[in-house]
């Protein structure tokens, strides 16, 4: 299956793209996608905490919903899904 991934703000620089279409073997979950994308220590460090959970500085959305409101890293993916990875901006 193919899913479209969008990177926002500085994560574009980290992942070297504004968006990418990623091929995944079925069945796939968000965690599989992120593991595939995080192919360098820097990328991994930006997305995951040391314990393998999502870095709280990053928000991962699937189809307009935060994956934490779905099934987290275990959220299933389907052909044509749209995933966005964005930084959690908090200042003012």
């Amino acid at each position: 299956m193919t899913v479209r991934v969008r990177f926002l703000a500085h994560l574009r620089t980290v992942f070297g793209a504004k968006e990418r279409d990623i091929e995944l073997a079925e069945p796939a979950r968000i965690e599989d996608l992120l593991n595939l994308l995080c192919d360098t220590p820097e990328r991994r460090n930006d997305v995951f905490k040391a314990d393998g959970s999502i870095n709280p500085q990053v928000i991962v959305m699937k189809g307009g919903t935060n994956i934490l409101s779905l099934q987290g890293l275990g959220t299933p993916l389907a052909e044509g899904d749209s995933v966005a990875i964005l930084p959690f901006l908090v200042g003012g």
Partner: protein, 255 residues
């Protein structure tokens, strides 16, 4: 909003160049309106400046902090002479000088669950110019619960985001953002606050005048590094504890 409003001749002249943009009765609606601005920091500086210049009738400013020297790269309402003084009060004085026809209600204080609804009483729009998500969630819950449109903004370094919440219609902050511990002292380039605060002020003006399309159901992203805008769709979470549609207090419009 209150009843009929009248403009002095000088006041009319002041708004002459924007009246057409606001549409028939738009300027009157701005003048009749009360807007709550939570935070008078970096975002607040540009929001307050543009709301006052645009002629919003009553602006309620709330901030708990005092001015510090390391605020001045982005908090353009203040000067070195304001150091140590309450931001809400100094911002109020400054904004009143910018537009004497605007009524300012400036209070130094902390926004908490216990007072949030009182602070928002009588407001037509609430603006998030805060520096932490703990307080943002408090404001979000009060605004959504009171059916008051809410304009969120946040910045770090050269990036910023904006999202307008139309209670009961579009995603609220709690639908999108996870709980986080309060933190502060992030690096921020001053202009990032100018960019994001200006967009927020524009959202407020549009909502009050009843024109054009708000950034609701979408999260707008500004990436200053590459000088580009982006947006992603955000959906309401049916299980949202604030505005979720599966039961709960936020699900129904208050009488």
């Amino acid at each position: 909003m209150k009843g009929k409003v009248e403009f002095k001749e000088k006041e009319r002249e002041r708004y002459r160049r924007q009246a057409e943009v606001l549409g028939p009765g738009g300027q009157e609606r701005l003048k009749a309106a009360t807007v709550f601005v939570a935070g008078a920091g970096g975002l607040g500086s540009s929001i307050l400046t543009y709301l006052a210049a645009a002629g919003v009738g009553t602006i309620r400013i709330y901030d708990q902090d005092v001015v510090r020297l390391d605020n001045l790269n982005r908090q353009i309402l203040y000067t070195e002479l304001d150091e140590g003084k309450p931001k809400a009060v100094r911002a109020g004085l400054r904004v009143r000088n910018l537009n004497p026809y605007v009524r300012i209600e400036a209070v130094q204080g902390r926004i908490e669950s216990a007072n949030a609804r009182d602070l928002l009483k009588g407001c037509d729009v609430a603006v998030d110019a805060l520096d932490n998500f703990e307080t943002r969630f408090v404001l979000n819950e009060a605004a959504v619960g009171m059916w008051i449109p809410f304009v969120h903004g946040a910045v770090i370094e050269m990036s910023g985001q904006v999202m307008t919440v139309l209670p009961g219609k579009t995603a609220c902050l709690k639908c999108v953002f996870p709980p986080v511990p309060a933190r502060s002292g992030f690096p921020i380039l001053g202009v990032t606050c100018g960019v994001i605060g200006s967009i927020q002020a524009g959202e407020v003006v549009k909502l009050l005048a009843g024109i054009e399309t708000p950034a609701a159901g979408r999260l707008l992203f500004w990436d200053g590094r590459s000088a580009s805008w982006d947006e992603i769709e955000v959906k309401r979470n049916p299980d949202c504890p604030v505005c979720g549609t599966r039961g709960g207090e936020g699900a129904e419009r208050p009488k």
